[in-house]
């Protein structure tokens, strides 16, 4: 079974649907107390679009598309670093009780 253009699309579709289902389960399993960090992480990972920006910024020379690509890289990097760091800050605040670890359920 060779991968033709429509086949490629269906594969994308398969991955897409599976990822949506995973997204549904994973996000609902996030504890409400961590919904703010969740926003931080999704912000950071949505900047994976940097992959596209790097492709554009890749070729040598200095044409329009390369400049756009570089701007894209800068913007996405702000988000990546900012998003992960702010999430890190938030998460490192969440602490267990220090003494007398009474288990509450």
């Amino acid at each position: 079974m060779e991968a033709h253009s429509s086949e490629v699309f269906v594969i994308g579709l398969t991955v897409f649907f599976l990822a949506c289902i995973i997204g549904y389960y994973v996000v609902w399993s996030v504890t409400p107390a961590l919904h703010s960090p969740l926003m931080g992480v999704t912000n950071a990972i949505s900047s994976v679009i940097i992959v596209g920006a790097i492709l554009a910024a890749g070729p040598q020379g200095f044409d329009t598309s390369k400049i756009f690509g570089l701007i894209g890289v800068v913007l996405a990097s702000v988000n990546i670093f900012g998003g992960f760091l702010v999430t890190y800050r938030m998460l490192s605040m969440f602490k267990k009780k220090t003494k007398k670890t009474k288990e509450k359920k």
Binding site: F9, S46, S47, S77
Partner: protein, 460 residues
């Protein structure tokens, strides 16, 4: 090889979100996310066509420095603004990536300049459209949250009609663009979309911005999926779906917590009913007032206290003083717990982060379902800067705009203390009859100041 590395990176992103199911595993999750991103970036750098390492490295450094600086300096109370601001950048980045693809389609293997594949053109322009809307919408949201722009919803006539017409115009432009591939039209789409972003968000009240930000977040996830389809890049598809699902679910949770329909949210134009329902005349009812000493006395003699923080606590930055108060009470042998409503504050999980910042152990911080049945057995509810989330009108008054919203049953505890500055209403603009109840004592003042005063009285 590339595909495998991208797959690993996508799986790491999934585990990053999965880690957030518990505070314990969340730090590890964040690390997974970082590793995933590093793999994704380095894999892309290894592409044969990518040669200008210095420029890209410099760009990452510049962006990274700015991002790190902001992330490390920001106050936790300013989180909603921060998310909005970061968010506008994602939108803008998407626009630039689309533009770059348009000017150099070869680098993305989607055709040649002037003869780009139709599917890619459609995708590209939709990406641009969503990116631009996300950008301007988030900028406006940032302004409203930060207070730079008035948070008041700005309403004018034929608003929705105008938006609809602009939307049709954009569709028309996209069709035109796909046919003649003109740069002029491309940039026209960008500008008109930016305009639409502003117009869609402008009638929405400042406090509704988190829902808007979350919705835009979701949209941008789906846009990333779209780009993923064009590039046959599963990493983008999977990540986009995760982000899309996350934004959609968070918006759903928020709108459910506020008793708004999700349609209402998607259509925009909400947050305008700020003044309805507030008109009931309560000026002749009697309100029991108290001061910090009274509060200290009441709590000192209780067995159990539940603290209900809300938006006002965040505004006043009272979390540290509040925790200090809680610590003293705990030392006296009083059971102290915190009850968090799903939409307390101004973004999901906002209160949890603030309390965590103030070193409150997360076991003492409970969600609505976990603690709501404990109020009848509790002596004192200490409501600080919260209002709507305790309003029993949500259960009794069918005409109230918040009717049907789940609330924390503070009124079932033996006595209720309310810390706020005035008799003013909260975000929803609905009067809270609890203020007039016999077992309620109002403690007027700034939340932080009040906590500090109570701490003084308790220590005296």
């Amino acid at each position: 090889m590339v595909a495998i590395l991208y797959l690993i990176s996508a799986l790491l992103f999934i585990f990053a979100l999965r880690g957030l199911s518990h505070p314990e595993s969340s730090r590890m999750g964040n690390i997974f996310g970082v590793i995933g991103m590093i793999i994704a970036v380095f894999t892309t750098l290894m592409f044969k066509s990518v040669l200008s390492y210095y420029e890209i490295g410099a760009a990452i450094l510049v962006g990274g420095a700015i991002g790190s600086f902001i992330a490390l300096r920001i106050e936790m109370t300013a989180l909603p603004q921060l998310v909005a601001a970061f968010h506008s950048l994602v939108g803008l980045a998407a626009v630039f990536v689309a533009a770059a693809a348009f000017y150099d389609p070869v680098a993305f293997s989607i055709g040649k300049v002037g003869s780009i594949k139709t599917a890619s053109l459609v995708e590209m322009s939709i990406g641009t459209f969503i990116g631009a809307i996300t950008f301007s919408g988030s900028v406006l949201a940032f302004g409203k949250l930060q207070g730079t722009i008035s948070g008041k919803p700005i309403v004018f006539k034929f608003q929705h009609l105008i938006n609809a017409l602009i939307f049709l115009l954009i569709i028309f432009l996209i069709v035109l663009f796909v046919i003649n591939q003109s740069p002029t039209i491309f940039w026209t789409i960008v500008i008109v979309s930016i305009l639409l972003g502003f117009l869609v968000v402008i009638p929405i009240g400042g406090a509704d911005m988190p829902v808007v930000v979350s919705m835009l977040n979701s949209y941008s996830g789906w846009a990333a999926c779209g780009i993923g389809f064009t590039l046959s890049n599963n990493l983008l598809i999977i990540t986009g779906a995760l982000v899309g699902a996350s934004g959609a679910i968070l918006s759903y949770i928020m709108s459910k917590g506020m008793n708004r329909s999700i349609i209402n949210v998607v259509l925009g134009g909400f947050g305008g009913e700020q003044d309805t329902g507030a008109s009931k005349d309560n000026s002749d009812k009697i309100v029991k007032q108290g001061n910090a000493e009274d509060a200290a006395y009441i709590m000192k003699n209780a067995d159990s206290v539940i603290i209900v923080p809300g938006y006002g606590m965040a505004v006043a930055q009272a979390q540290h003083a509040l925790r200090e108060m809680g610590d003293i009470l705990k030392k006296e042998g009083i059971e102290v717990r915190y009850a968090i409503h799903p939409v307390a504050g101004r973004m999901p999980g906002h209160m949890n982060v603030l309390l965590a910042e103030a070193n409150v152990p997360y076991e003492e911080v409970l969600e609505l379902d976990e603690i709501n049945h404990d109020f009848p057995m509790t002596e004192v509810s200490f409501v600080i800067g919260a209002n709507d989330v305790t309003n029993p009108a949500a259960k009794t008054d069918e005409s109230s705009p918040i009717f049907g919203m789940p609330i924390l049953d503070v009124e079932k505890s033996q006595s209720v203390l309310f810390v706020k500055r005035s008799m003013a209403t909260g975000y929803s603009g609905v009067d809270n009859e609890l203020f007039y109840r016999d077992n309620t004592t109002m403690l007027f003042g700034d939340a932080k100041k009040m906590c500090e005063d109570i701490v003084k009285s308790l220590s005296a």
